[in-house]
Subunit: 202 residues, 2 copies
């Protein structure tokens, strides 16, 4: 299919779905012969590549966002960074920051990413899992322990938690995927620096 044959309505649909630029959407649809879902995947992949390139850049602008849940019984404060004040002020960035605060309230993470989990914490978890797996054959034990640890880390680390708004009908993105999507659309390195959860009386 040539670029000229791509219906404008399809380009618009892809733009709405991905937030990518018009030329990128046309190109992706041309390459995938007008297959919308394949074009989404293609854009996401190239977005991932671009986001990876951006990942090293300084992100010291952004916003502090908060969310108060359950009529004041739970509160979240989060710092989300980008590279420029201009992007920080966009609706898209503010929406992302709000979604992060909401997801924290819903999913109750302990750390931002697995890199932030202290080694002592991981060592203690490994001990527990090794004890649980002590009846398994020794050759399988390490794999079981590492598997359980990875699963546990994905439950307590914000970036590995599922994005609650995606629901269960379609595949749930992780918060890391949501971050990469925002970074792709806004063209800046976006990071979640820190968060705090207050629960009443705890």
């Amino acid at each position: 299919m040539s670029t000229a044959q791509i219906p404008a309505a399809l380009v618009k649909e892809l733009r709405d779905k991905t937030g990518a630029g018009m030329m990128d959407c046309k190109k992706a649809l041309t390459e995938t012969n007008g297959d919308l879902e394949a074009a989404v995947t293609l854009l996401r992949k190239s977005g991932l590549a671009a986001a990876a390139k951006r990942a090293g850049r300084d992100a010291n602008e952004g916003t502090i966002s908060s969310y108060i849940h359950q009529g004041g019984r739970l509160g979240v404060l989060v710092e989300v960074n980008c590279e420029t004040d201009f992007v920080a002020r966009t609706d898209r960035f503010q929406e992302f920051a709000r979604d992060v605060a909401l997801n924290i309230a819903a999913m109750n993470p302990i750390y931002v990413s697995a890199d932030d989990v202290p080694d002592e914490y991981k060592a203690k978890e490994r001990e527990v899992y090794a004890d649980q797996a002590k009846d398994k054959p020794e050759s399988a034990r390490e794999k079981i322990v590492e598997g359980k640890l990875a699963k546990h880390l994905s439950e307590i680390c914000l970036l590995e938690q599922p994005y609650f708004r995606d629901g269960t009908e379609k595949r749930q993105r992780t918060m890391e995927e949501l971050r990469v999507d925002a970074s792709s659309e806004l063209g800046e390195n976006i990071t979640i620096r820190r968060f705090e959860i207050f629960k009443l009386g705890e």
Copy 2:
């Protein structure tokens, strides 16, 4: 002046000013011969006494309140406690919690109260002040050091900081006085448990 001679309008004015009950207001105005300002002082004093009695009671209800300042460059999360969910839901309590969050954003405290300041921190400050005062007569030195420390603690402790809304026209209450006023009006022990300040990029 007998209770019967107190004009209803004066009682209403005193109630509006202090939030105290009608009978307490009538009694205070009777005792002060209808002097409104003296009655306010009298009620505040008895409120202080009552608040002191309440201070030991458990406060595990309340609310988490947040405040985002400077278009997202500064964020505050604070837990304010009272004794019952009923009081936590009142406008007066919610207003107090909001004021606390706002004051934190405005005054940038480090600790809730002087009791929370670690001894090592105080020891280091004393060293600095002792060094500054080394040319003063020895007999005066300790007083100077303790005076400077007290001043410094009043600047970094939330409860000793001035309430910014009081402005400079009238005497500024401290946040501790504001807390006692709220406690008196609501009839429960009210405490500020903890707070967190996020500044963008820090």
